[in-house]
Structure formats: C-alpha cells, structure tokens
Symmetry: C2
Subunit: 345 residues, 2 copies
DNA sequence: CTGTTAGCGCGTTCAT
DNA sequence: ATGAACGCGCTAACAG
C-alpha cells in the first residue's frame, strides 16, 4: 500500500472543475453554441471551415458533450435499462450480452440492475430506472407487481419482457414456454423408456414451472410418484447438484433425474460417476440451458437449448422497433426451444 | 404470434405523453414546485400537513421524479459506470455483483459496458460513459490508451482500476499481481516434485502475465522447455481446455499443466480422465479463479483463489470514499491471492 | 416553513 | 450557413 498522492482531483466535486461546454468550444472557434451543437449532430449543416475550427477547439479543450443536458432538452436519453434476476448467472448475462451489443450499434447504452428474483425489489428498481427516463426497458419474466405495471404503463415507454411468454405482455414479449419444456422433456424421457424419475430444482418460479410440466406429464403416463429436491434460494451450483444427487442415491434411487440447470445436472453427473454408476444405464440426467460445457461432460449432457444470444437480439430488435415508432410488429415472439440429445439420457 | 394491439402507447414518443412534473404535483397539493422538491429530498423540511398533501398528489398522479433534470441541476448524476472485458465471464460479473450491491446501498446506480479486451473500444466507451457525467468510474486493468487517461484526468472524477495492480494508478487501484500468481504457482508445482510442465492460456494479457511468471520460475528451476498452447481470442471454455489437453496428450506429454482459468482446467481434467490417465499421477492440473465448481471436479481442482466479491466491494468502498471527498485512503490496495490445494496437483 | 429567482448545458424553433 | 431566444425539470441560493 502507498499513501495517497494529493495530485489528483483533491476535493474537487465531480463536474465542477473546468466545465467545458459547447459555449466554451464555440467561443474558441468563433461561433455560437448552437453551431457547435449542429457540428456534432450533423456536420453537413456547418461549413467545412467552421467545422474544422470547431473540431480543433474540441480537441484543444478535450470537450465531452454533456449527455444529461442533451437528454433533458431532447427528451431522449439514449438509455435502455434492463432488469435481470442475477447478473452472475450465465443464462442472463449472455442474454444481456446479445441485447446490449445490438442496442449499442444503434446508439443506446444499457443500465442493468439485479432483482434477485424478488418482486418487491423489482418494483423498486423499476421506479429508480424510470427516474432516468430510459427510452426503453427490458424486463425478465412476465409477472410483475400491480404497482410495477402501473408505473410502466404510466411511463408509456417501450417495454420488452423476455425469458417467458404470454399473450398479454405489457408491451412486447420475446420468450418461450417453460411448461412446454417440462412436457417435452417428460415425453423424451418416456420415449427413452424411463419409468422412474426425480427432479432437482432451483428456487426460481420459472424453473418450477418446467419441473411441474415434467412431473405432470411423466406422472400421468407412468403413475409413478416423483421425488423432488428443491434448492433453497441462492444460485444453483454444480456443488448443489452433486449434493442433491448424493441424497437421491443414498435413498436408493435409480432412474432419470430432471435438473433445472446444466450446472446442477453436471454436478449430478459427477456424483453418479464418482460412485461408479453407469450413466445413462443406472442414472440418466437431463439438464437445461445447453451451456458450452454440456457437450464435454462425461457423458455429454442431454439438455434443452434456448438460443439466448438470439433472444437477446430479438428483444433488442423489438425494442428498437418500438422506439422507432413501429407498431405493426407482433406483440409476442416465441423463440422456442430444442431438446439436445446427447449421452446422459 | 399475435398481431400488435394498438392500445399501448401508439406512436407516443417516450417522455412526451403526460409529463407529470413537480410543478404538476405542487399545483395539485396547493404548493409551489420547490416545496415538492424539498418534500422528496428532506421531508423534515416540510410541514406534516403539506407533506401529506404532496404525497397524496404524487400517489394520484403516479409522479416519478426526473433524475435527468436533477442531475443537471445538482451536477450529481448518482451514476457510476463500469467497464469490463466481458460480462458473460463469471470472473467479471461476480466482481460487478459485489460492486453494484454496495454502491446501490449508497444511492448510486451502475451502467456497464463491455470492452471485449480491446483498448480502442475501451477508449471509445470511456468517452460515451463520460458524456453521462458519472460520479465515478470503474475500470478493469491498469493499461489504458493515452487518450483514455487524458479524458479520465480531464473529467476529474474518482476512478478505480481493478483486477490488476500498480503503484501509479489513475486514481485508485484495487487488485493483485498476476505475475506473482504465476511465480507462486510454479513454486507450488516445483514443491510437489514436478519437472515437466505445459501451459494452456487464454487470449488475455493478464492471463499471459500469469503464464509468463509461471514459465520464468519453472524454467529457471528445471531448465525444462515448457510447451505452451495459446487460445485465439474468444472465451476460454471447458471445451477448449479439453481440446488443448487432447493435443498435449497426443504429443505424449506427461506432467503438470498450468491453465489460465478453471474452465479450461476442468476441460483438461475431463480429457485426461476420459483417457484413463491418473490425475495427478500422470497429469496434474492447476487452474485459476476458484470457481464454485472447482471443489467438485474429479479430482477436485487445485487452483488460485482471488476473492472477487470482496474485491468488488473494496473497489466500491474506495470509490465511494473518493466521491465523499476522502483523500487520505491508500491509493493502492493489494487484495492478494491464495493457492487452494486440492487433488488435481 | 415556504416562495422567488437563477441557472445547469443542451436541443429546438424561428429568424436572418 | 449561422444566431438569438426559449425551455427541458430540477436544485441551489436567498428572502421572507
């Protein structure tokens, strides 16, 4: 550690020192503030000569336009905000990646916050986000508090809800049906001849709907009662999956295990193999997410793929379209899913 | 898909429709705009009776304060922006998680962008971020273009550089030495009796410095030449680690493999075991990151732990201190690292 | 405790 | 092609 130097910005309130404005630049270039504004927004509206002088002045002063003032005057913030349950979950961060890539290309920036799967926190964050007057907003999921809906509708900005699907979104929706994934997974398991099943599920309403879909279909066909292990709140990690599988195995379980994420599934796989069990002979595993490691586990993981990057981009496209005033695009887009058959089930 | 409904916000430019302002609320409550402002910023400065009326009016109108106008007037944006190489990399997203948690508690919001390990893009993003007049900024790494440094210093805002360390940061620095991690890893490997080594490294300057530290120390002690596999740009995934290990094994390599991430290391482990090799007998593996799955791999992964959540929080604390005008705190904080000894090496 | 007056730095309109 | 005037919605002094 080193003692603080006193050379950098001592006690200088941000933005106070040397506020270079368009007026400053204009003065130096011998033009008015408006001309500087024009030079920046549309260089063709300014004579080549003054343009050069303005650019020199900008260079000399290190002027950086004040987007806050610009947003206030134009009523356009060039800001899109996003709310996701968790930023450390690859599922959501890869969505944001695709989303932000596309909106940035269109001159927008992204502000993100985490809701931690908590509706109350989501409602609070919506309020703080709305205060920044975003030009659009991305929400995860389709269930929001009445207060949240009210605020969103009052704000009258384009909104896109993702990672789930409904025919009656607040504005637009890009996602897929979790229940159907559960059903399809059960169908697949049944087709493979499985007659015993268990579930390992994270504390997440959407994961639970996948699980419920799976259980409903599987139980209806086999009459079997299905053991369910539910995680307490917190990320569903490989370690938790491993523990859960250990628990099932200790109870003598043999059959197919339906996991709410590839992480858990991987853990389950590891535990089964660590005990010398045959996969998928003794124990079969289905995951969810098709993460990049899924094809490299031992054995490769059978899972459900949702194209997250494409979904993020589709959500961005829908939002940008709305911001651009396009109202004839579909309200709801179902991006679907796909069961990826590999060795584990 | 469903056709667009025309009930929501048709062609209404954001922010235009029904702009409820403090003046609106004040009118309804029978007070002036300033009083509304006071009621919101410090309720004790307003009589209980008018406070009630103001709150009723806010409730009735659904008023949401305009933070843009507030920021312009107060010269405080309550915004902290962050630049990370990649948001989908758990290493950085967990940092952001800890960081944003803490700044939010202090009333700040976070805007993030990805630089994709590209200095030019970082420079561009710094400019756009600065345009929003953030009250502080978080940067990943200590190497920035001259233009970037100039802009940052010109902006005169608190800046914290993380995930690396230097005695001469732009403002503050919270991190650790990558070279030392390489050296320490080599020392550990040597102490375990290893005399043959190879490296698997992602396309990331900091990962390369860890590798260089490792190679320098290991080669100096053994005189061995060390095979190096370097990934092309793109995320270093489990799959890539597996491929790299396959390549080494095909060349007949036996010994210790130093990987730039736990993901790669895990892939390497899987490949070695898939070939029936003994770990750590035939092949030993050291990772980096101590991700949550590291203790559950087969065998458990020996790796290097850096407390990312704590680093994020330390960075936030440093930044908040600077924003608060504290200048006597240390310029540089070394959070260190720790070799986590498990079964793989 | 409350109101008045002034900006904050820009975009927008209307002139020229 | 350029400028003057105005306003975006709020906070920051000062009065009273």
């Amino acid at each position: 550690m080193k003692k603080s130097s006193s050379s950098y910005n001592d006690a200088a309130p941000a933005q106070t020192r040397g506020a270079v404005t368009m007026a400053t630049v204009g003065r130096m270039a011998g033009v008015s503030q408006v001309t500087v504004s024009r030079a920046l927004s549309d260089p063709t509206k300014v004579s080549p000569d003054t343009l050069r002088r303005i650019r020199d002045a900008i260079e000399a002063t290190g002027f950086v336009p004040n987007a806050i003032a610009g947003a206030l005057a134009s009523r356009k913030s060039q800001l899109i905000t996003a709310l996701v349950p968790s930023i450390t979950n690859i599922v959501y961060s890869s969505l944001l990646h695709g989303f932000s890539d596309l909106i940035r290309e269109h001159g927008y920036q992204m502000m993100v916050s985490e809701t931690g799967f908590d509706p109350q926190q989501e409602t609070d964050m919506i309020a703080t986000h709305l205060a920044r007057r975003p030009d659009g907003m991305l929400l995860t999921g389709i269930h929001h508090s009445p207060a949240a809906r009210r605020m969103l509708i009052g704000a009258a900005i384009p909104v896109v809800e993702i990672w789930d699907i409904t025919e009656t979104p607040i504005d637009r929706c890009v996602g897929f049906s979790h229940a159907q994934i559960g059903l399809a997974s059960a169908d697949y398991a049944l087709a493979q001849g499985h007659r015993h099943a268990a579930t390992i599920t994270a504390c997440d309403a959407r994961a639970q709907r996948r699980r419920d879909g799976f259980v409903r279909r599987f139980a209806a066909e086999t009459g079997a009662d299905i053991r369910a292990i539910d995680f307490p709140p917190g990320t569903a990690t490989l370690g938790h999956g491993r523990q859960a599988m250990a628990q099932l195995l200790d109870q003598g379980f043999r059959g197919l295990v339906y996991c709410s994420s590839d992480q858990c599934a991987h853990g389950a796989l590891i535990e089964a193999r660590a005990r010398g069990l045959d996969v998928p002979g003794d124990i079969a595993v289905i995951g969810f997410g098709d993460q990049d490691f899924a094809e490299h586990t031992l054995p490769p993981l059978t899972t459900v793929k949702v194209d997250r990057d494409a979904m993020g981009k589709a959500a961005a496209t829908a939002l940008l379209g709305r911001i651009g005033g396009q109202n004839d695009a579909p309200t709801t887009i179902d991006v679907g899913f796909q069961i990826v058959t590999r060795g584990s089930a």
